[in-house]
Amino acid sequence: MSRRSRLAWTGAHTRTGIIDAMANVTKRLVVLGAGTAGTMVANRLLKSLPDGWSITVVDKSDTHYYQPGYLFIPFGMLPPSKVTRPTRDVLAKGLDVVAGEIDRVDADANVVYLEGGRELPYDQLVIATGTSPRPDQTPGMDGPELHKSVGEFYTYEGAVALRDALKKFTGGRLVMHITEMPFKCPVAPLEFTFLAEDWLRKNGLRDKTELVFVTPLDGAFTKPVASRALGHLLKEKGISVETDFMIESVDQEAKVIRSYDEREIAYDQLVTVPLNMGADFVARSGLGDELNYVLVDKHTNRSTQYDNIWALGDASNIPTSKAGAVAHFSVEMFEENFLDAIAARPLSRSFDGHANCFVESGHGKALLLDFNYDTEPLTGTFPLAKVGPMSLLKESRINHIGKLAFRQIYWNMLLPGRNIPIPPEMRMAGKIPAEK
């Protein structure tokens, strides 16, 4: 069957088909995933795509989660109700929203298959299905103590369960553990540790608790300069660090984690970042690497295999942080490139891997990091040279306030696709390269 006749065949008798016929739709963009990247890109392109295009968004969940909020839930700093909104409220009217699980993409035929057999033909495809914690990938992690003495805060359920576990915590060994790189929001485990230290102090448990930070890396963070600054903070707060720890298994009965080189770390409460993986359908569709991240060009987010497939946000294999800020910066750049691509123009923008993140350091303070593919996190001020108001790589109260304010910016500006006054490319003005 030719592609054109397949389009006619699958579309003619559906609601979408009728709407398409009325609006003279000849081209279809399908967006897989309505998380941070998928929602932003769909809302933005609805305004900027030329006539004749329809946008279909596929997601399995009817709830949109503000994921940066998960970090605060275990400490009672944010009620769980503040991190959710109905998906339909964050997606603009005019988008065709399909609820369903993705079975696979047939990239040669330009069709997405949903579980249950529904077919969604496309002219252009954006994969924004993110990355997910997979405790099932480490022996013993997925046992009966998961979400009890083996906690995590990378899911809504996990963050709420960890809040309940911490309420019962009376002291002992509290171990923050990272399974493997890369994972979503690489500073979050450090932030969790700093906030836990603060929380323990406030609850009179700090003296009775040994705080341990366990990482597969050789330091506190991936970027050497930031690693040094953050490593210093850990030391200052009396937190011990176990580096180069590649976990082999969790023993939930003995309450220890074991590494491949046969080290054992005991815990009373473990807080782990399970292995992160992209969606399984990416592997089934032959589009991903060994962790199911879509193989793309790191400057354009375009599939290295198919010109009409793009991956945005955590779903791609670009070598920068998996974080909302990266999703935001790359979506802005992608929008222009995508409009170029469908008009058969050369792509005008190139993404530099720009990431920035607030790092909660406890006691109502936070640091701010700003970096890209080639530049280490810098000191200085942000977003304006000398004026700031935020300072980079240094603890300050205003950075913490900035982090809290971000939730409103997320719901009201980023998701609806409004521009915020931070350019997608990293700028050097006001920044001082740190000594290596």
Partner: protein, 104 residues
């Protein structure tokens, strides 16, 4: 970047001793680098190092431990036996490649 001489080969290395120019590498040099970190190269070691070199040519990035394991079929545990304690770094070091990122 500092220059150093390893078994008669003039090479450029970074502060951790990793080669900064993968093209300056040869199997001779690899054997010398292995000696420096106390590894006696067997066929099993060479298979992994050769995989790393080949993969780098295509990916322009050093394979992570997971990638080495899935692509070569060698269990991670075995990699820890062949290159004790820090297999990802040690394999990259012997192969004359940058230390694997996987880390951002």
């Amino acid at each position: 970047m500092p220059m150093t001489t390893i078994a008669g080969h003039e090479v450029e290395v970074n502060e951790e001793g990793f080669l900064t120019k993968p093209e300056q590498w040869s199997e001779d040099l690899g054997a010398e680098l292995a000696k420096l970190i106390g590894i006696d190269m067997t066929d099993e070691h060479w298979n992994l190092v050769r995989f790393l070199r080949k993969d780098y040519d295509v990916q322009h990035e050093t394979a992570t431990l997971r990638r080495v394991s899935t692509q070569t079929g060698k269990p991670v545990k075995d990699l820890f036996v062949l290159f004790p304690a820090k297999p990802a770094k040690k394999m990259a070091y012997v192969a004359g490649l940058p230390k694997p990122k996987g880390c951002v």
